[in-house]
């Protein structure tokens, strides 16, 4: 393992989040490259386990970056990898949000909102299908995914029960 340079880690993450258009999945490969391949701060296995742990935790999946920092250097490390996630995104969004709220009928905001909305929805649909193919390897998995979508569209059950059922089915080795 290389000697940990928290300042460099902070700056690298800050730079990544400034260009993270398209969200966390866009920069995941580079985070992996930086901490595993270039600086050998984590092994491949540790990276995968940390990523999995953050997926199990409630909250945005991106919190795996917090866990990487914490694993490397405790609270200071967690701050060094979490603050870069927070600062560029919230600052820019506040700026754009401010003008969007103040001039909701400005031609540029109207055009951006109505022009890009279909693209956003198309991209979300792409994410959904990519995720569906990534997590499912045989017909039972696809059945669970499609059944979940159908139930959520038709029933008003609390979807936490569906997730819990999925977790139990997974632990029982059914899927």
């Amino acid at each position: 393992m290389d000697r940990l340079d928290l300042g460099a880690l902070f700056l690298h993450f800050l730079a990544l989040w400034c260009v993270a258009v398209g969200g966390p999945s866009a920069i995941l490969p580079d985070i992996h490259r930086y901490v595993v391949e270039v600086h050998h701060l984590l092994s491949n296995r540790e990276f995968a386990e940390i990523y999995t742990l953050a997926q199990v935790a409630p909250g945005p999946n991106v919190m795996y970056v917090t866990l990487i920092g914490w694993h490397l250097a405790g609270w200071a490390g967690a701050a060094a990898t979490t603050i870069p996630l927070l600062v560029p995104a919230t600052t820019l969004t506040l700026l754009v949000g401010h003008f969007n709220e103040r001039y909701p009928n400005a031609a540029i905001f109207r055009a951006v909102r109505s022009g890009l909305m279909p693209i956003t929805i198309g991209l979300m649909f792409a994410s959904a299908t990519i995720l569906m193919r990534a997590v499912n390897h045989e017909w039972r998995g696809y059945l669970i995914t499609l059944l979940t979508a159908a139930l959520v569209l038709r029933k008003t059950w609390n979807p936490l029960w569906l997730l819990a059922a999925g977790a139990v089915a997974g632990m029982a080795g059914l899927v």
Binding site: L53, H71, F125
Partner: protein, 184 residues
């Protein structure tokens, strides 16, 4: 088609904090589903269309799209401090939870059951995301152009697996230009 100022509900900072806390603490396997459920169906702070519009803006900006959406919603209802309390609710809890899990991981290592549970949950989570997209798609007007752009974005990223930035770079300027030229 545009929302007006007058139908904007009155929302306190405490409600913002609690709602985003609830959204984030329910968010297993992706936050988008829970954000739409909380903001559109449970609280009714946003219409389906307003949600899709703010999500579009959030998607454009760097950073996690639901975090950006959180900022936009907090700012809309209670200004700068509203955005701050919303983000505190949305990221504060997961920050603590994930560190708690990190502690457990250091002491016990990763349990194989966790991996199995995750495998089961991820199949359900994929279904939640799929349902969210289907609901969001209902706000698209029934004209060929929006559906064509949606289809091109889906095929480019989801089927051809071209880089996201290339697809957005090619489609977005055309879509914005055409929307600019059209008055609807």
């Amino acid at each position: 088609m545009e929302q007006t100022e007058s139908d904007k509900p009155c929302v306190s900072r405490l409600e913002l904090f609690l709602t985003f806390s609830r959204i984030t603490l329910s968010s297993f396997g992706g936050a988008l589903f829970w954000a739409r459920l909380g903001l559109v169906e449970r609280q009714r702070w946003l219409s389906e269309r307003e949600f899709a519009e703010l999500l579009t803006l959030g998607q454009l900006l760097p950073g996690p799209n639901v975090l950006n959406l959180t900022v936009l919603v907090g700012y809309r209802f209670a200004g700068w401090s509203g955005a701050a309390v919303s983000v505190a609710g949305y990221l504060g809890w997961p920050f603590l939870v994930v560190i708690g899990m990190g502690l457990a991981y250091q002491h016990y290592g990763a349990l194989p059951q966790v991996q199995l549970a995750l495998a089961g949950m991820s199949k359900v989570a994929a279904g939640l995301l799929l349902a969210t997209v289907i609901k969001l798609a209902t706000v698209l007007p029934l004209r060929w152009r929006p559906w064509l752009f949606g289809l091109l974005a889906f095929v480019g990223v989801g089927v051809m697996r071209w880089p996201l930035l290339w697809v957005i770079g090619a489609l977005a300027p055309c879509a914005i230009f055409l929307a600019w030229k059209t008055k609807d």
